[in-house]
């Protein structure tokens, strides 16, 4: 009996507590920098696409919502011919970001992706590509890769030595 009265009293005192609700459209939620939301494709500092079309994100995706086709430009630089994410399937697990070797695919703190038409949830490359370096500013894969693909010549990288003629005996 006492416990009943006590719980009634305690609930009554909740009247003077602060309310927990966030009045969403007017009041926004605080999203932390690592919050896993809308997926983007980032660019390197020179404005080129970071994605090299290695298919690792598509392989890592547990719901198979990523599909892409790799191709090469005249310099031998790989890039995706198309890159498609079906956000009606995506579960925002972030495995694609973990799998990406070039920091191209990244998840951003944004969840406001509502659409009236289901087909609009399928994002193409032009919807995904942003003019930003995302979480890794200054990183350019082709600057540190050993491959010449129009960004730098072979052996011209910061931590590279010029190529050696292995058939020559001269030191």
């Amino acid at each position: 009996m006492i416990s009943l009265l006590r719980s009634i009293g305690l609930i009554f005192l909740h009247m003077f507590r602060k309310r927990e609700t966030i009045q969403y459209p007017e009041e926004k939620v605080v999203l932390h920098p690592r919050w896993r939301g809308r997926i983007v494709l980032t660019r390197d500092p020179d404005g080129g696409e970071r994605c090299v079309g290695c298919y690792l994100c598509a392989a890592a995706c547990p719901v198979d919502c990523i599909s892409l086709q790799a191709t090469e430009d005249e310099n031998g630089r790989r890039y995706p011919a198309f890159f498609r994410i079906n956000f009606s399937r995506c579960i925002f697990c972030g495995y694609c970001e973990e799998a990406c070797p070039t920091y191209a695919i990244q998840l951003t703190p944004d969840f406001e992706m509502g659409e009236y038409n289901r087909q609009n949830l399928v994002y193409e490359k032009e919807d995904l590509l942003i003019d930003s370096q995302g979480k890794y500013p200054g990183y350019n894969y082709y600057k540190v890769a050993g491959l010449a693909a129009g960004v730098k010549g072979k052996g011209e990288g910061a931590n590279e030595e010029p190529p050696v003629d292995i058939r020559s005996l001269i030191p």
Partner: protein
């Protein structure tokens, strides 16, 4: 002729006011529950979310009013009407103010007891006509709860009748001129309130409905406006029990400065809000626990209270 016109007008106004208040109690309940659970509740449609009631009503009207093929059709349709009708009939004897009441019956208290227990027919018939095991279980629970709690609901009021010497509700109110009956009959007040909650099937005594065990109990098969009738009946019941508690134990319309009807409304709303607070704070007892409280604890207390009151009345006489 003038008399008839006056009473007809009074009935129409009462019906309109009561059903409107009952509808808006849904909003009040949701807001108050939210307040006690650190939420906001409905606050979008209109000022303070008041128009949610209109939206809900329109929604209920547009829902499919489905009668299951296995149901007993005539009874199934008729059952929801009983609860609202029975509760509204009880309001006939409630004295809202000295000049605002429909009928000043000299057995007003008995009429109230009779009418409020008629409401259980709605539950029993609705549950039986649905032809569904959960509905029937809910109906059985409703019937047994009503029988056991009706007993001491009446008994707890007899002390008040002894003190005021009348079954007429206006006499009972006038007998509280010096002090309210809650002062002299505190035990009876607690018992009546408990029985009243059980009578309206409100939480924590909502075992005929018990959505965590019985789907929705007696109204599992109901939809659309038929379900709405059960809902309105429940809220009318809350108003009725609160009004009766105020009339019998808290001096009805009596109070200084403000006009009588304002006092009555204020006191009634305090109890309506108390009902909602109970819903927010107490868990539902098990079915057998409910019966045990009723017969083994509350009934002896009610009888004892009656005995002591009778003794004191004899000593004074």
């Amino acid at each position: 002729m003038n008399e008839i016109l006056k009473y007809t007008l009074m009935i129409v106004i009462l019906l309109f006011t009561l059903t409107t208040i009952a509808a808006w109690l849904i909003w009040l309940e949701r807001r108050m529950l939210a307040l006690w659970q650190d939420r906001y509740g409905p606050n979008r449609a209109g000022p303070f979310g008041l128009f949610i009631v209109a939206a809900d009503t329109i929604k209920l009207f547009f829902k499919e009013d489905w009668i299951p093929p296995f149901a007993e059709k005539a009874v199934f349709v008729f059952a929801p009407a009983i609860v609202a009708a029975a509760v509204l009939l009880s309001f006939v004897v409630v004295p809202f103010a000295p000049d605002i009441l429909v009928a000043d019956l000299d057995v007003g208290l008995l009429f109230f007891l009779a009418m409020s227990s008629l409401g259980v027919y709605s539950i029993v018939l609705g549950g039986w006509a649905s032809n569904n095991k959960y509905s029937l279980l809910g109906a059985l629970r409703g019937a047994s709860q009503m029988i056991s709690y009706e007993v001491f609901m009446g008994l707890s009021l007899m002390g008040v009748v002894m003190l005021s010497g009348s079954f007429r509700l206006t006499d009972i109110v006038m007998a509280q001129k010096d002090y309210w009956f809650v002062v002299t009959q505190p035990v009876a007040f607690v018992l009546f309130l408990t029985a009243g909650i059980a009578e309206t099937h409100r939480l924590p005594f909502d075992i005929p409905e018990a959505e965590s065990e019985l789907v929705a109990g007696f109204h599992s098969e109901y939809s659309g406006m038929k379900f709405g009738m059960f809902f309105i009946g429940e809220y009318l019941g809350i108003i009725l029990i609160s009004a009766m508690v105020v009339t019998i134990f808290f001096g009805g319309w009596l109070g200084p400065f403000l006009p009588p009807i304002v006092w009555f409304t204020l006191k009634t709303f305090v109890f309506i809000i108390f009902f909602i607070l109970l819903r927010a704070s107490l868990p539902r007892p098990r079915y057998d626990q409910l019966m045990e409280y009723g017969w083994k604890i509350i009934l002896p207390i009610a009888l004892l209270n009656l005995l002591v009151t009778g003794g004191f009345t004899l000593l004074k006489a």
